[in-house]
C-alpha cells in the first residue's frame, strides 16, 4: 500500500479501493440507467401520487382563494414561506460541493457532486413554486417580474422580495448551466451504449461530444470559470433570502448575523439532504464501491462544521436578545423558547444542535445507517428552524392586541407534502436519465490503464 501511495495519481484508488479498472466505471454507473427495478417504480408511483395531492391542494386553493390556508393577520407568512426557504436552502449544497469544493481541490467531491447538483436544480424548481403558491392569485404572478407595465409601475426595488426574484433566477440559471455542462461528457458515454429513442435523446443533448483534446480543453476552462462564478452565488442567494426577514424590524428577524447564518444553515440542510438521497441510491444501484464510507465521513464533517456555525448563530442571537436590554427583543426570544411554539423551537435546537454532536465520533461518521438517521433529523430540524423564524416572530410582534396564533390548514400540509413528492419525482427521473455519478471525474482519480501500473499492482 505504501508503495502505491507514493504516486499521487493513485490517491483515488485509495478512495475507491474496489474499483480497479476504468471499464468498470462505465459499466457500473451506466447500469443505473438500464430498465428500472420494482423499487424504483414503487417510489415513482408514490411520488406521482403525491403530485396528485399537491396539485389537488393547489387547485383547491386557487378555486377557493387563499382563505383555505391558516394564513391571516398577524401571521401572513406560514408554511409556504417556511417551505420556500427550506427548499432554497436545500439547493445550496449542490453548488457548494460542485463549485466551492472544486476550487478548494477537495477530491472527495467527485463521487457525490452529480447527485448534489441535480438535487440543487430540482430543489430550486421546488422552491420557485412557493412564491407562486403564496401569491394566491397565480394569474398575477408575472407581476413579480420587473418590467415597465402599461401603467409604468415598477416593483419596489428596495424590497428584498424583488431581490429574491433576481437572486433565485440567477442562481437557477447558473446552477442548471453548471450541472448540464458537467454532465456532457457523461451523456456522451451513455450515448455510446444506448439504443433507440434514448440514443437519439443523448445524441442531441451531448452536443456532439467526442472527447477530443480540444473539447476537453474548452470543457476544463468553462468548468473552472463557471465554478468561480457560481461560488459567490452560493453565498448571495441565501443571504438575500435572509434579508427578506432581517431588513424588517420584526423582533426575531432583525439581526445582523442573518446572512451568514442562513447560508451556513442552507449548506447544512443541503449536505444532510445529499446524505439522505445518496444512501438509498448507493444501496439500490449497488454503488458501494464508488460511494465509500470516506465520502460519507467527509460529508458528515461538513454537516458538523455547519451545525456548529448554526449553533453559534443561535447562541449569539439568544445572547444578544438578552444583552440588548430591550424588552421587545428579550420577550421575543423568551417567547420563542417557552411560548406557544416552544415545541418547534426545541425540535429545532435538538435536531440542529444536539443530535449532530454525535458526528464528533468517528464511529458514527463511518456508519452509513447512523448518518442516514442523523441526516433526516437535520432535515426536520432545518424545516423547523424556518418555521420558528417565520411563525414565532410574526405571531408575537410589538403590540399585544395584534398577537395571534397560526395553525396550518390541511391544504397547506397537502402542499408541503406534495412539494417533497414533486422534488422526488424529478429526482427519480434524473436517476434514470443521467448517470448519477460523474464518470469522467471518477476516472481522473483512478489509476490509468497502463502496463506499468498493472505491474505495480501485482
Amino acid at each position: 500500500m505504501s508503495n502505491a501511495t507514493k504516486d499521487p495519481i493513485v490517491r483515488g484508488a485509495l478512495a475507491h479501493p474496489d474499483v480497479t479498472r476504468l471499464d468498470d466505471v462505465n459499466r457500473d454507473v451506466l447500469k443505473v440507467l438500464a430498465t428500472p427495478g420494482k423499487g424504483w417504480w414503487a417510489l415513482f408511483s408514490l411520488a406521482s401520487l403525491g403530485l396528485v395531492v399537491f396539485f389537488t391542494s393547489w387547485g383547491w386553493q386557487l378555486y377557493r382563494g387563499i382563505g383555505v390556508t391558516g394564513l391571516n393577520a398577524p401571521v401572513g407568512w406560514g408554511v409556504y414561506i417556511t417551505t420556500f426557504v427550506f427548499w432554497v436552502g436545500i439547493a445550496h449544497s449542490g453548488t457548494l460541493i460542485s463549485a466551492i469544493l472544486f476550487l478548494f481541490r477537495a477530491p472527495w467531491r467527485q463521487a457525490i457532486y452529480r447527485a448534489a447538483e441535480a438535487m440543487t436544480v430540482f430543489a430550486v424548481m421546488t422552491a420557485g413554486l412557493f412564491p407562486l403558491i403564496h401569491v394566491g392569485r397565480l394569474w398575477h404572478a408575472y407581476w413579480l417580474i420587473p418590467y415597465p407595465n402599461s401603467r409604468f409601475l415598477w416593483p419596489n426595488f428596495k424590497s428584498p422580495l424583488v431581490w429574491d426574484v433576481f437572486a433565485i433566477t440567477t442562481y437557477f440559471t447558473v446552477s442548471a448551466t453548471f450541472f448540464y455542462l458537467g454532465t456532457i461528457p457523461d451523456i456522451a458515454a451513455a450515448r455510446d451504449r444506448a439504443t433507440g429513442l434514448r440514443k437519439k435523446l443523448y445524441q442531441v443533448i451531448s452536443m456532439g461530444w467526442r472527447g477530443t483534446d480540444q473539447q476537453w480543453h474548452h470543457f476544463g476552462k468553462a468548468y473552472i470559470f463557471l465554478a468561480a462564478l457560481a461560488t459567490p452565488l452560493v453565498l448571495s442567494v441565501h443571504s438575500v433570502v435572509s434579508w427578506d426577514f432581517a431588513v424588517s424590524i420584526v423582533p426575531g428577524w432583525h439581526t445582523t448575523i442573518f446572512a451568514p447564518y442562513f447560508v451556513a444553515g442552507a449548506i447544512y440542510s443541503g449536505v444532510a439532504m445529499v446524505i439522505t438521497l445518496v444512501v438509498p441510491i448507493r444501496k439500490v444501484f449497488g454503488l458501494e464501491a464508488y460511494l465509500t464510507t470516506k465520502h460519507f465521513d467527509a460529508m458528515a464533517k461538513l454537516c458538523l462544521l455547519t451545525s456548529m456555525i448554526v449553533g453559534y448563530a443561535y447562541m449569539s442571537e439568544f445572547f444578544m436578545a438578552w444583552y440588548s436590554g430591550e424588552e421587545i427583543e428579550r420577550t421575543a426570544f423568551w417567547n420563542r423558547l417557552f411560548g406557544t411554539y416552544w415545541w418547534a423551537t426545541w425540535i429545532m435546537l435538538t435536531c440542529n444542535m444536539f443530535v449532530p454532536i454525535m458526528l464528533w465520533f468517528k464511529r458514527v461518521r463511518y456508519s452509513i445507517p447512523a448518518l442516514f438517521v442523523i441526516s433526516i433529523f437535520v432535515n426536520i430540524g432545518m424545516w423547523f428552524e424556518r418555521y420558528v423564524i417565520v411563525v414565532t416572530s410574526l405571531h408575537h410582534e410589538y403590540e399585544p392586541f395584534a398577537w395571534g396564533i397560526y395553525r396550518p390548514s390541511l391544504t397547506e400540509m397537502g402542499i408541503l407534502l406534495g412539494s417533497f413528492c414533486w422534488f422526488s419525482f424529478w429526482f427519480l427521473l434524473f436517476t434514470r436519465l443521467l448517470p448519477p455519478i460523474a464518470i469522467q471525474e471518477l476516472k481522473e482519480v483512478l489509476p490509468p490503464p497502463m502496463r506499468k501500473q498493472k505491474e505495480a499492482h501485482s
Partner: protein
C-alpha cells in the same frame, strides 16, 4: 486536481539572524514605548485607544495566522507545506499579547468603558449589569484568552517537536537552538513515535480550537469594541471580527513567506508558484468575504433604521468626521485587493502579491481602529493622529521580534510532513492502536 510535490527530504533552513533587523526591531519597540509614555501624560484616553486598537490588531493577525495553521491541518492541506511553520510562528507573539492585555484589564476603567458611569443612570445599561461589570470582565477575558492562547501554543509545540529530532546536527551548532532542542525534547520517544504522537494530538485539538477561537474572539470583540457603545449591539460583530482576523493571518503568512524567499535559495524554491497562487486566491477570497460580512451588517442596520442601532453606523459614516476614514478602510480592504488580486498574475508575482497583501494588512490595521475608536470619539477630537502608528510601533516591534525569533530558532519550513499522505498516516495510526 493539482498535484503537490513535497520533497521527501525537506531542507533544514532557518531565517538567518541579522543584527540590523534586531536593531531595527529594538528601535521600533523603544520608539513605540516612548510614544506611549509621552502620550499617556498628554492625553491618557487617546493613548489607551491607540494601545487597545493596536493590541486588537496584532492579536488578531497572530491568532488568525495560527488559526490558518489549524485550518489547513484539519483539511489535510498539502499545498502550504512550505508555509506551515510561518503560520505557526505567529504563536510566538501570543504570550506577549497576553502580557500586554494585563494593563488593559488592570488600568482601564471609567475613562475607557462608558458603561461604568452609565450604570448609575441608564435603565437599559442597568439591564446588562450581569454582563457589564468589572470582575466578570476581567475574569472572562483572562480565562478566555488563556484558554485560546494555551491551545494555540500546545498545537505549535507539537508541530515543532518532531522537527527537533530531525535537525540534530543540522542547525549550525547554534547554542540558542540547541537550548530549545533540549527544552522541547524532554521525554523523547523516538522520531517515528514522536511524529505519530504529534499528529494525533494536533488532530485531536484542532477542531476544538476552532470552536474556542470563535467564542473567545467574540468575547474579545464584545468587550473591547461593542460595549463601548453600550446601547448598540450586533450579532454580526463577532464573525466580522474573527473572520477579519483569519484573513489578516492569511495575508501576514503570505507576507512573511515572501520575505523568507528573499533570504535563502531553498525558501525561494519551495515557496513556489503553487503556494503563491493558492495563498493569493485565499487573500482574494477573504477580501470578498470580509466585504460580505461588513455589508451584511451594514445593510440590515441601514434598512432597519432603528435609532440605537444605526447610531454606530452614522458615527462612522459622517462625512464631517469618520466618513472619509471608513471609506479608506473599504478601499484598502475591498477595492484595491479585489481589483488587484482578481487576475492570476498578481497572485503569482512575488512583488505584486507582496504589495496587495501589504495593502490588506494595513487596511485591517485601519479597520480595527475604525471599529473601536469612533465609539470613544468626541466632537472636536482629531480622527487620526501620528500617535496611533507611533504607539503601534511598540506592538509592531514586539510582533516582528517574536516571529523573527521563532523563525530563527526553529526551522522555518516544517521538516516532518505527515500530510504528505494522510491516508497512510491513518493506516499507521490504526496499526499503532
Amino acid at each position: 486536481m493539482a498535484n503537490i510535490d513535497i520533497p521527501s527530504e525537506v531542507p533544514v533552513r532557518y531565517l538567518p539572524r541579522s543584527r540590523n533587523a534586531s536593531t531595527l526591531i529594538g528601535a521600533l519597540f523603544f520608539v513605540g514605548l516612548a510614544a506611549f509614555v509621552i502620550r499617556l501624560r498628554q492625553d491618557p484616553d487617546s493613548a489607551w485607544i491607540s494601545y487597545v486598537s493596536n493590541w486588537l490588531y496584532f492579536t488578531s493577525i497572530s491568532i488568525g495566522g495560527v488559526l490558518f495553521a489549524f485550518v489547513t491541518w484539519i483539511t489535510k492541506a498539502k499545498w502550504n507545506w512550505s508555509m506551515r511553520r510561518v503560520s505557526q510562528s505567529f504563536a510566538a507573539f501570543l504570550p506577549i499579547s497576553f502580557v500586554l492585555l494585563l494593563p488593559m484589564l488592570l488600568f482601564l476603567r471609567e475613562d475607557y468603558f462608558p458603561w461604568i458611569e452609565m450604570m448609575a443612570t441608564d435603565a437599559i445599561v442597568q439591564e446588562k449589569a450581569a454582563y457589564l461589570n468589572i470582575p466578570f470582565l476581567v475574569a472572562r477575558n483572562l480565562v478566555a484568552v488563556l484558554l485560546l492562547f494555551g491551545m494555540a501554543l500546545y498545537f505549535v509545540y507539537h508541530a515543532v517537536r518532531p522537527d527537533m529530532g530531525l535537525t540534530r546536527g543540522a542547525d549550525g551548532g547554534d547554542p540558542a537552538r540547541e537550548a530549545w532542542r533540549e527544552r522541547l525534547t524532554q521525554g523523547w520517544m523516538g522520531q517515528e513515535q514522536e511524529e505519530v504522537n504529534s499528529y494525533k494530538r494536533m488532530t485531536t485539538i484542532a477542531p476544538a480550537f476552532v470552536i474556542v477561537y470563535a467564542l473567545v474572539m467574540s468575547i474579545i470583540v464584545y468587550d473591547w469594541v461593542m460595549t463601548l457603545e453600550p446601547h448598540w449591539y450586533s450579532t454580526m460583530i463577532g464573525p466580522w471580527f474573527f473572520m477579519g482576523a483569519f484573513w489578516g493571518g492569511i495575508a501576514s503568512t503570505a507576507l512573511w513567506s515572501l520575505y523568507l524567499r528573499t533570504q535563502d535559495k531553498e525558501f525561494k524554491n519551495h515557496i513556489g508558484l503553487q503556494q503563491r497562487h493558492d495563498i493569493g486566491k485565499l487573500a482574494f477570497a477573504f477580501s470578498v468575504f470580509w466585504t460580505y460580512l461588513f455589508f451584511g451588517q451594514y445593510l440590515v442596520i441601514w434598512y432597519g433604521k432603528l435609532p440605537w442601532e444605526q447610531a454606530w453606523m452614522v458615527r462612522r459614516s459622517d462625512p464631517e468626521s469618520w466618513g472619509p476614514y471608513s471609506l479608506l478602510v473599504i478601499v484598502m480592504c475591498f477595492v484595491i485587493p479585489f481589483a488587484g488580486l482578481l487576475g492570476r498574475k498578481p497572485k503569482m508575482k512575488p512583488k505584486l502579491l507582496a504589495f496587495f497583501t501589504s495593502v490588506i494588512v494595513i487596511g485591517l490595521w485601519l479597520e480595527r481602529y475604525g471599529m473601536m475608536a469612533p465609539s470613544l470619539w468626541h466632537e472636536g477630537d482629531p480622527i487620526f493622529t501620528i500617535w496611533q502608528p507611533l504607539i503601534g510601533c511598540m506592538f509592531l516591534g514586539l510582533y516582528l521580534g517574536a516571529v523573527r525569533w521563532f523563525l530563527t530558532t526553529f526551522p522555518a519550513m516544517q521538516i516532518w510532513q505527515p500530510m504528505g499522505d494522510p491516508e497512510t498516516i491513518e493506516v499507521e495510526l490504526a496499526a499503532a492502536e
